[in-house]
Symmetry: C2
Subunit: 350 residues, 2 copies
C-alpha cells in the first residue's frame, strides 16, 4: 500500500465511521506560513495554584469549595450546558401557507435534558496524563468507567460522552488536568453517524467494523503509532487533523465498564504513551481534544459498537503553527496537508 | 414564537439544510472565561505593503509577479490543495479474510481533481468588504459570478466553492482583502447534504426549502439582521456560531450568474451592510469564514437549489474571546451559548 502513487497526489478518502470524505493534499506541506502564530503554554506551572478553581480546597466561581481531594474529584459543572430537570417540550413551526394550503413544518426544536460533570484527574495542578504515573491514570480510567455506568443507568440518558480539552488552544479554560462528561437525552450527531455505520456493517457482514479495521491496520503496519497487549493507537486512514489518532481495544468491547483488568491497565498505558509521544513531537505540552465513543445507553444491545477514543490535536508544523479548519473545511469538507501514513511514522519514530 | 419558554432553556434545533442538530444553552452566557484571549488585529494597515504577496506589482513566494492591477485580480493558488491534471485512480483495500472468506472492502481513496484560485478584492492592502465602495464590491460580485460560470463549465467540475477567510483567527495568512475559489471534481460533504435536503423538499412539497424558510423568517422578523429589495441576512434558526448568518436572495436563484442587475447590486449592498454591522459589534475588524453555496455544476438542473452565503464568525463575547468548537462539539455536536434570536437582535440594533 505504501506504493500507491495515488497517496502522493491530491485525493479523497472515505471515513468508514461517519460516511464522510476528507481531502488529502500531500504536496501542500511546503506552503509558506505567514498567518497566526500561537502562544506557547507556560513552561512551568506550580503544583498548587491558589487561583485555580480545580485545585483541592479552593473555592469555585459559584462559591462551592473543593474538598481536599488526593486522587480524583468529580463534580457537577457549575456552568453546565445541559440541565437534568427541565420540562419536556417540543416546538414545530410551519412556513406560511401558499394558495390556501398549510405550509410544511420547517422549524423543529425540542428540550434536551443532560448532565455535565467535571473530572479532575489529579490534585496536582502541574501534571498531564503523559506525566502522571500508571497507577494515577489507571485511577482515572476507573472513574470514567464508573461515571459511564452511573450516568448510563439514568433512564433518559442515551449517550455519555467523556472528553478532555487540553490546552488553551483547544478552549480549555484551565491547565489543571481535567476532563468533562456530558450525558445526553438524545444521541449527538457524531454518535448517530457512528451508530449507523457500525450497525450497518454488523448486519451486512456479521462482523464488527472496527475489529475488521484494526486487523487491516495491524497487517499493514504503516499507520500504527503504538500498541500494547490490549490496545492500539493508530492514525486512521481517514484522519482529518494533522496528527489525529484513533485508540482501540484489541478485543470487541462496547464500553469502558466492559474492560477487564488487563484492558484497563492497557488503556492507562496507551494513553500515557500516546500523549507522551505527542508532547515530544514538537517539544511542547501538545494541545488536543480527546474523547471516548462508547455504546449508546438507550438500553438496546448495539452489538456492533466498538469502544474507541479519538484524539484531535490541532498542531500542524510546530508548537505554534496549527491547522485551521476554516473556509473550505467549514463550507465544503475537511482538508489535510500531510498523509496519515506520514503522521503515524513521525509519531512512531519519536 | 418569542414566547416559547423552551428557547430560554437547553434545547436542540434541527438544521434543515444539513439534517443535523445543534444544542442551544441560553443560560450559559454567564460562565466566567479564564481561557485563551486572542490578539487584536493591527489597528492600522498601510494602503500598500511591499512585503504582501497580494499587493499590485509585488513578487509572490513562487517568484511570480503580480500585475499592477487597479480593480480585482484573480490567479491560480501557488500552493493549491487541488490540482487539475492528475491521473484518475481509485484504490480499495479489503480487511483480512476470516475463515477463508474474503474480507469486506474497508479503505476507499480516489484521486480528486480540482482548481484553487485566489481573488484579490482590491489593490488596496488596508480595506475590507465593509470599507470598500458599493461599486468596488459590485465588481467583486461580477468576478465571483464569472468565475463560477467559467469553472463550472469545465466538464469534470461539480462544485465551485467561493469563500473568504477573514482575519488571522480564521487562518487567513494575509490581511490583504482576498478570497479563494476551490473547484472540485466531487461534491464536498456539506454541498452533498444541502443538495439532499433541498432536493427532497422540492420533490415532497413542490416548493423551494429556502424560499419557504425565508417567507417564515420575514413573517417572524426576530431573526432578521438586515435586508434590502433583493437580499436578506438573518441568523438562521439552527445557527451554530454565536453570530452566524445566512444571506439569501429573495427570489429563487441557483447561482450568482443567474442574478439580474438588481440582484447583483443588492448582494454587494447586503455584504457591505452585514460586514459593517459585524465590525461595529465588538468594534474590531470581525473575523469570519464566509462562502457561497451555489447550484452544483454537474450539468443537472437541481431546480430546488437556492443560492445562499453562510457567514461563520468565531467571536463570542468580545473582540478577544471566541467560541471554541472543541471536545463536545467535535465528538458530539455543535453547542451554542446564546440564541440566534439574541444574536440577530444585537446585530440588528447596531
Ligand atoms: O489557503 P490559505 O489561506 O493559506 O489557508 C487557509 O484556508 C484554507 C482553506 O479554507 C485552509 O485549508 C487552511 O487551513 C487555512 O489556513
Ligand atoms: O466547559 P469549558 O471547558 O469551559 O468549555 C470548553 O469546552 C466546551 C465543551 O467542549 C465547549 O463548549 C467550550 O466552547 C469550550 O471553551
Amino acid at each position: 500500500m505504501r506504493h500507491h502513487e495515488l497517496f502522493s497526489r491530491p485525493h479523497r478518502r472515505l471515513n468508514q465511521l461517519t460516511g464522510e470524505w476528507v481531502l488529502v493534499s500531500p504536496h501542500r506541506t511546503q506552503r509558506p506560513w505567514l498567518g497566526q502564530v500561537e502562544t506557547l503554554p507556560p513552561a512551568e506551572l506550580p503544583a498548587y495554584d491558589p487561583n485555580c478553581y480545580l485545585c483541592p480546597g479552593n473555592t469555585r466561581a459559584n462559591g462551592a469549595q473543593n474538598p481536599a481531594y488526593t486522587e480524583t474529584f468529580v463534580f457537577e459543572n457549575d456552568f453546565a450546558a445541559l440541565l437534568p430537570d427541565i420540562p419536556l417540550e417540543r416546538v414545530s413551526i410551519r412556513a406560511p401557507g401558499v394558495d390556501g394550503e398549510i405550509g410544511p413544518a420547517l422549524l423543529h426544536a425540542e428540550a434536551e435534558r443532560g448532565i455535565c460533570r467535571v473530572v479532575c484527574f489529579s490534585p496536582r495542578h502541574d501534571l498531564t496524563l503523559a506525566q502522571m504515573s500508571q497507577a494515577d491514570v489507571r485511577r482515572v480510567v476507573e472513574v470514567w468507567a464508573e461515571q459511564y455506568r452511573e450516568l448510563g443507568e439514568i433512564d433518559w440518558v442515551q449517550s455519555v460522552l467523556i472528553f478532555e480539552n487540553r490546552g488553551a488552544m483547544m478552549g480549555a479554560s484551565n491547565p489543571h488536568p481535567h476532563g468533562q462528561i456530558w450525558a445526553n437525552e438524545q444521541l449527538p450527531n457524531e454518535m448517530r453517524k457512528e451508530l449507523a455505520t457500525q450497525t450497518a456493517y454488523w448486519h451486512e457482514h456479521n462482523r464488527c467494523l472496527l475489529c475488521d479495521y484494526l486487523a487491516l491496520e495491524l497487517a499493514a503496519g504503516e499507520r500504527i503509532v503504538c500498541a500494547n497487549e490490549t490496545w492500539v493507537a493508530l492514525a486512521p486512514f481517514w484522519a482529518v487533523w494533522p496528527f489525529e489518532t484513533l485508540v482501540l481495544p484489541r478485543s470487541h468491547t462496547g464500553a469502558l465498564p466492559d474492560l477487564d483488568e488487563a484492558g484497563r491497565e492497557g488503556l492507562a498505558a496507551i494513553l500515557r504513551e500516546l500523549t507522551a509521544r505527542y508532547d515530544r513531537l514538537f517539544n511542547v505540552t501538545f494541545p488536543y481534544s480527546m474523547g471516548f465513543h462508547q455504546r449508546p445507553t438507550d438500553g438496546l444491545a448495539h452489538d456492533g459498537w466498538h469502544l474507541h477514543a479519538h484524539f484531535y490535536p490541532p498542531l500542524l508544523r510546530s508548537a505554534t503553527v496549527r491547522k485551521f479548519m476554516v473556509g473550505y473545511e467549514m463550507l465544503g469538507q475537511p482538508q489535510r496537508d500531510l498523509t496519515p501514513e506520514q503522521a503515524a511514522e513521525r509519531l512512531r519514530e519519536i
